[in-house]
């Protein structure tokens, strides 16, 4: 009796997810048992910056947990503390520090320890990376700064005659200064900025910026600069089907209606129904943006059915360049796992601390 009640509830709670219907009606399976059968990952595209993959068979809560961890809880390195020795540029120290913080730093966070918050935390070679920036725009005597100076790659003066010459300070001007054993420890991958051409500031003749940026390990929850991804998002795979076939000129119409080019024409030959010979088919359902143009008017109004596949997620991860997207994803899974294990420990600790107060 009790069992049926539970099952009835379960259907109600999760009835959105078709994949669970079989589960609830047949024998009771746990989620992990279900996933062992159904979970599939198919990578559509992957390079150093971007990754698109299909996550099939999982529940939205997992997809969302992954997405949230990718954005906010995968650790990475970023400049946290800036010591300003000289800053005569137009930028205020605060703004300069903020800009420096947002520069992606190419360094493996696994090589570093996290830092306790607060001023008591001591910086050391295991938790801090130091970058130096010393940029000045010095004009030699007689130099106007107007002519393009290509001899040293850094100096780019404004070519226009009216505006004062400026020297651009780029991310590549940040130089890593190894502390302690860091030089040998990080020899295989020397810490550096991920994108050398990020503009930090512009200097007028005579201005100088000399700062030291201390990188820390952190997570996106604390500040967006620690987020290893530009964005991570998922959407459900659109499912488009026909209640009845769309043929002939109407098929052409439908193809034209779709701005994303989801439909194609299939040639049925002369023997086709009603002699039309042409039929609309769904060729690229992934491209569908659910704009609903096809069902708004025209031939598709009551013949096309727009739905989504409830357990098929098209996941996309855009890395900021510090960590490869697949690495970020693996880190995210590890973070989720660690969350669970650390909670289990906390529960044990709580149980011990309580002295078995769980009895009641």
């Amino acid at each position: 009796m009790a069992a049926t009640r539970i099952e009835a509830y379960r259907v109600e709670a999760d009835q959105l997810y078709e994949s669970y219907r079989s589960l609830t009606l047949a024998e009771v399976k746990t989620v992990v048992e279900h996933l062992r059968e159904k979970l599939r990952i198919h990578i559509v595209k992957m390079d150093v910056e971007e990754m698109v993959f299909d996550l099939i068979g999982a529940d939205a809560s997992f997809a969302n947990a992954l997405r949230r961890i990718l954005l906010a809880e995968v650790p990475s390195m970023a400049i946290e503390i800036v010591h300003v020795f000289a800053n005569s540029s137009i930028l205020h120290d605060e703004v300069l520090a903020h800009r420096l913080g947002l520069i992606p730093i190419l360094a493996d966070p696994a090589h570093f320890e996290g830092m306790l918050p607060g001023p008591a935390a001591e910086a050391n070679e295991h938790n801090t990376l130091v970058f130096e920036l010393d940029a000045a725009f010095v004009l030699a005597k007689g130099e106007t700064g107007r002519q393009k100076d290509s001899s040293n790659g850094i100096n780019t003066c404004d070519a226009s005659t009216l505006k004062a010459p400026t020297r651009n300070v780029y991310a590549k001007d940040l130089v890593w200064r190894p502390m302690g054993e860091q030089e040998t420890r990080l020899a295989e991958r020397v810490p550096q900025v991920a994108h050398p051409d990020i503009l930090i500031a512009k200097l007028k003749p005579g201005q100088r910026i000399k700062v030291e940026g201390w990188c820390r390990k952190g997570v996106g929850k604390d500040h967006a600069k620690y987020s290893p991804v530009g964005t991570a998002s998922y959407r459900l795979l659109p499912s488009i089907d026909f209640v009845e076939p769309v043929l002939g000129e109407e098929a052409d119409r439908l193809v034209e209606l779709c701005p994303m080019g989801v439909f194609d024409i299939e040639d049925l030959g002369k023997g086709g129904a009603r002699g039309a010979g042409r039929k609309a088919v769904v060729a690229r359902p992934r491209d569908c943006s659910m704009c609903r143009e096809c069902v708004r008017e025209g031939p598709g109004v009551d013949r096309v059915r727009l739905k989504r596949v409830a357990d098929h997620f098209i996941f996309s991860i855009e890395s900021v360049g510090t960590l490869a997207p697949d690495r970020v994803l693996k880190d995210a899974v590890r973070v989720l796992r660690e969350k669970c294990t650390s909670l289990l420990e906390a529960i044990e600790a709580e149980g011990r601390g309580d002295g078995g107060g769980g009895k009641g």
């Binding site: 605060e94 693996k330 899974v333 796992r337």
Partner: protein, 121 residues
């Protein structure tokens, strides 16, 4: 640090079980957790046969707390079901990791002819 920069303080307690008479119906309070764990853990707990009711909430976004309400059948106490659920989550993560590795190697094989110069992973 800026004037009105807000640094959230870490929660006092990582885990707390609110005391009720019945050990089969409990509200667990998780410090420093949010929807990330809350929703997926809820989902996993729902799938367990001892669960009668499971729900989660984040009472206020500026408080680093997440509640899970769990009611179980007489066969197992709620705390035990919660632990089982967390173990299951760990299993799912391992499964996911395994599946992902296979998918990556599949993809790499597929891309074998083209020059593959991906960096670290």
């Amino acid at each position: 640090m800026s004037v009105n920069e807000h640094r959230p303080q870490p929660a006092e307690k990582k885990f707390e079980s609110l005391e009720y008479t019945d050990e089969h119906s409990r509200t667990f309070v998780f410090g420093d957790e949010d929807h990330t764990l809350g929703n997926s853990l809820r989902h996993v707990l729902m799938g367990r046969k001892e669960t009668r009711f499971c729900g989660y909430s984040v009472p206020h976004p500026s408080e680093p707390k997440m509640n899970i309400r769990l009611q179980t059948s007489a066969t197992k106490p709620a705390l035990q079901v919660l632990k089982d659920g967390l173990h299951e989550m760990v299993e799912i993560c391992d499964l996911f990791d395994f599946t992902l590795d296979r998918a990556i190697s599949d993809y790499d094989e597929q891309q074998a002819d083209s020059t593959d110069e991906r960096g670290i992973h």
